[in-house]
C-alpha cells in the first residue's frame, strides 16, 4: 500500500506528447542510429572500412552469432533467457563431426545435429516450464552439463570432419557472390520476423512478455508457448553450429564461449527490451550488425580482444540501464 516495490511499470502512457514520441522513436530505432553512428565513425577512422569487401566480411563474420541471437530474441520477447547457447553450439557440432567420423554421410549428421539442438531446447523448456525455476539459472546449469558432455565426447580435443564437401556451405558463396552463411542468416531472420508478426505463436510471445496474466486469461497456453520458444532457440543454435563447424572444418567443445553474453547484447542493442514484449527478428539483425561493425572497428583500431570484451560489457550495462530508464514510469 505505501511502498510500491514493483519497479517496472509497463504502463507507458503515450498520450501523444512530443517528448514521449521522441523517446519512443529513439528507443525503437536505437540500433539503426547506433549503426549509422558507427559506420560514419568507421569511415573516418579507416580507409578500408567502407570497402565492399570489408562490409561483406563483417556480415559473414557475425552470421553465426546472428543466428544464435535470433533464437535468443524469441525467448527474450517472452521474458526468458537461454544461457546454454554457448555450450549447445559446441555439442551439436561435436555430435555432427563425431558421427561423420563414424561413417554417417554429412547431410544426415546435420539432421542429427539439429535434433540434438531441439533436444537441448526441450530440456531447457521442460525444466523451466515444469518447475517455474528461474530460466537464467536453469540454463546456466544445463549449459555446464552440456559442456561436460561435449568435453567428454571430444576429450577436450578438436575433432575434424572427414568430408571435404562439408565445408562448402560454411565457407562457400552462392554464385560466388554472397556467402551461404549470410543467406541462411538472413533467411532465418525473415522467417522468424514473419513468425513474430503474422503468426498466432509469434503474437502470443509478445502477449506473454508484456503481461502473462492477461495471456492466461485470454486463453493462451503459456507453458506450450514458452516451450516452443526454447525449441526455436535450440533449433537456431543447431543451425549456427552447422555453419561454424562447416566453416572451420572442425569443432571443439568451447567453440561458443561468450556466445550467450554476446547474443543477449546483440538482441538488446537491436532494441528488444529485456523486460519482454517488444522487439523483433529484423531488429536483432541490426543489433548483430552493430556488434559486427563494433568488432570490426575495434580490430581496425588495433584494440586487443580482451579490451574488446571490457568495452562490450560496459556497453551492455549502458544499454540495459537505458532500457530501464526509458521504460519505468516517471
Amino acid at each position: 500500500m505505501y511502498f510500491n516495490s514493483k519497479r517496472f511499470l509497463l504502463n507507458f502512457d503515450s498520450r501523444g506528447s512530443l517528448k514521449f514520441k521522441v523517446i519512443k522513436i529513439v528507443r525503437d530505432q536505437i540500433a539503426l542510429i547506433l549503426l549509422l553512428i558507427m559506420i560514419i565513425a568507421g569511415s573516418q577512422l579507416s580507409d578500408v572500412f567502407l570497402s565492399s569487401k570489408n562490409l561483406l566480411n563483417i556480415v559473414w563474420a557475425v552470421s553465426v552469432l546472428g543466428i544464435v541471437a535470433l533464437g535468443q530474441c524469441m525467448l527474450i520477447i517472452a521474458c526468458r533467457f537461454d544461457m546454454s547457447v554457448a555450450y549447445s553450439i559446441g555439442l551439436c557440432g561435436v555430435v555432427m563431426v563425431v558421427i561423420q567420423n563414424a561413417g554417417v554421410p554429412w547431410v544426415t549428421s546435420v539432421l542429427v545435429g539439429v535434433f540434438v539442438g531441439l533436444l537441448v531446447g526441450a530440456l531447457n523448456g521442460l525444466i523451466c516450464v515444469g518447475t517455474n525455476a528461474n530460466p537464467f539459472l536453469v540454463t546456466l546449469g544445463t549449459g555446464t552439463l552440456i559442456y561436460a558432455t561435449s568435453l567428454s565426447i571430444t576429450r577436450s580435443k578438436t575433432v575434424y570432419t572427414p568430408f571435404d564437401d562439408f565445408t562448402d556451405i560454411g565457407r562457400g558463396k552462392l554464385f560466388g557472390v554472397v556467402h551461404y552463411s549470410v543467406l541462411i542468416f538472413l533467411f532465418l531472420a525473415i522467417m522468424l520476423e514473419l513468425l513474430l508478426r503474422y503468426s498466432k505463436f509469434g503474437r502470443s510471445l509478445f502477449v506473454i512478455g508484456l503481461n502473462e496474466k492477461v495471456g492466461k486469461l485470454s486463453g493462451f497456453s503459456v507453458n506450450r508457448i514458452v516451450l516452443g520458444a526454447f525449441l526455436i532457440c535450440g533449433f537456431t543454435v543447431s543451425i549456427a553450429s552447422f555453419i561454424v563447424t562447416s566453416r572451420n572444418g572442425s569443432t571443439v567443445a568451447n567453440v561458443g564461449l561468450g556466445l550467450e553474453f554476446e547474443s543477449i547484447i546483440a538482441v538488446v542493442l537491436g532494441g528488444t527490451s529485456l523486460f519482454g514484449g517488444s522487439g523483433g527478428a529484423l531488429r536483432t539483425v541490426v543489433g548483430v550488425l552493430v556488434l559486427g561493425v563494433l568488432n570490426n572497428l575495434l580490430i581496425l583500431m588495433n584494440v586487443q580482444t580482451e579490451v574488446q570484451q571490457i568495452i562490450k560489457g560496459a556497453i551492455f550495462l549502458l544499454i540495459v540501464w537505458l532500457d530501464i530508464s526509458l521504460r519505468s514510469k516517471s
Binding site: F3, N134, L145, S152
Partner: protein
C-alpha cells in the same frame, strides 16, 4: 539409485548438515580408508577454505534478495592483482586486490539499487567486464609469483590446520555474528523477506541492499588472494565455475533465490559437501568431465528444488485472506 539420490536431496536440502554427513558417509563406505585419512581431510579443508568465503558472501547477497554472478571473475582478478603487484610489497598487493573487490562490489550495489537493474543482468555485465580485465592484465597467460613466504597464506599450516582454513573460519564466525546478532545483518533478512514490510519498519533500504554486494565481492577477493597464495600464481581460468558453485552451496545451506532466508554456517556446510563430493569423485577416479557434469546436475537440482519449495512457501506467506 538415482531416484534415491534425488529423494534424499529433496528431504535433506533443508538440513545441510545431514547432506554433508551423508556425503562423507557415502564416500567412506565406497572408498574406505583411502578417503577417511588425514591427508584427504587436510586437502578437502584446504579447498573448502578457498571456496567458503565466496559462498558466505553469496549467501548474504541471496539473503538480501539479490544474486551475484561476478564473484568468480572478481576472484580471478584479485588473484591476478595480488601476484602482479608483488613488487610493491605483499601488504600493498593484498590491499590493492581487496580494494578491487570493494570497488566492484560498490558498482554492483549501485547498478542494482540506483540503476534498478535486475541483479542477474547487472552482475552478468560486471562479470564480463572484469573477465576482460583479467585477460588484459594477465595477457591471457598465467603469471607467476616471485615472493617466497607469500605461499604461507595459502599453503601453510598452523599445526595440522591449514592456514587458509583459519581465515575461512574467522570469516564464518564474523559474518555469522553479523547476520544473527547485529541489526545490520537482520536488516538483510528483512529486505529480502518482505521489502514493503521492511520499509514501513523504518529499515534503511538502500544500505541493506547495497552492502551485501560489497561483502560478496570483497570475500571473493579474499578467496582470490588465498588461491593465488596457494598456487603462487594466477591465471585467467580461475573461478570459471565458482559463481554457480557458490550459489549451489548457499542454497544447500538454506538460502533461497527469493531472499529472506539462509545461513552462513549452512553455506559453509554446503561448500564442505561440494568439496567432499569433488574430492571423493577424484579419488574414485571419475574423469574431470564427468565431475563437471555431476556438479552441474547438482546445481540444476538445487535451483529446481528451491523453485518448487519456494513456490509453496510463497502461497503460504503471502496469504492474508
Amino acid at each position: 539409485m538415482i531416484v534415491l539420490k534425488f529423494f534424499f536431496r529433496v528431504i535433506l536440502k533443508k538440513t545441510p548438515i545431514f547432506l554433508f554427513i551423508f556425503t562423507i558417509f557415502f564416500f567412506s563406505i565406497v572408498l574406505g580408508s583411502s578417503f577417511f585419512n588425514q591427508l584427504t581431510i587436510t586437502n578437502i579443508s584446504r579447498q573448502i577454505s578457498i571456496d567458503a568465503p565466496i559462498a558466505i558472501g553469496q549467501a548474504i547477497v541471496l539473503i538480501s534478495g539479490g544474486i551475484d554472478i561476478s564473484v568468480g571473475a572478481v576472484m580471478a582478478m584479485s588473484a591476478a592483482i595480488v601476484i602482479g603487484t608483488q613488487s610493491l610489497g605483499t601488504v600493498v598487493s593484498i590491499f590493492l586486490a581487496l580494494l578491487f573487490g570493494v570497488l566492484v562490489g560498490c558498482i554492483n550495489g549501485l547498478l542494482v539499487t540506483k540503476g534498478k537493474i535486475v541483479p542477474f543482468i547487472a552482475t552478468l555485465g560486471t562479470m564480463s567486464v572484469v573477465r576482460g580485465l583479467v585477460l588484459v592484465y594477465t595477457d591471457q597467460k598465467a603469471i607467476m609469483g616471485t615472493i617466497p613466504g607469500f605461499e604461507f597464506l595459502g599453503s601453510g599450516s598452523v599445526g595440522f590446520i591449514p592456514t587458509p582454513f583459519i581465515f575461512a573460519f574467522l570469516i564464518l564466525m564474523i559474518f555469522h555474528n553479523v547476520l544473527t546478532k547485529m541489526r545490520i545483518g537482520r536488516n538483510f533478512f528483512a529486505v529480502g523477506g518482505d521489502l514493503d514490510n521492511a520499509f514501513l519498519a523504518g529499515i534503511p533500504i538502500f544500505r541493506s541492499r547495497f552492502i551485501p554486494y560489497v561483502i560478496s565481492s570483497s570475500l571473493a577477493s579474499v578467496s582470490g588472494i588465498l588461491l593465488a597464495s596457494r598456487l603462487n600464481s594466477a591465471n585467467p581460468q580461475i573461478g570459471i565455475d565458482t559463481a554457480l558453485a557458490s550459489i549451489a552451496a548457499a542454497i544447500i545451506g538454506g538460502a533461497s533465490l527469493l531472499g529472506g532466508r539462509g545461513s552462513v554456517f549452512g553455506a559453509f556446510l554446503g561448500v564442505a559437501t561440494l568439496g567432499t563430493l569433488s574430492t571423493g569423485m577424484n579419488l574414485l577416479g571419475i574423469t574431470t568431465y564427468f565431475q563437471i557434469g555431476i556438479k552441474s546436475l547438482v546445481f540444476i537440482c538445487v535451483v529446481v528444488i528451491d523453485a518448487l519449495i519456494v513456490r509453496r512457501a510463497i502461497s503460504f506467506v503471502k496469504d492474508s485472506g
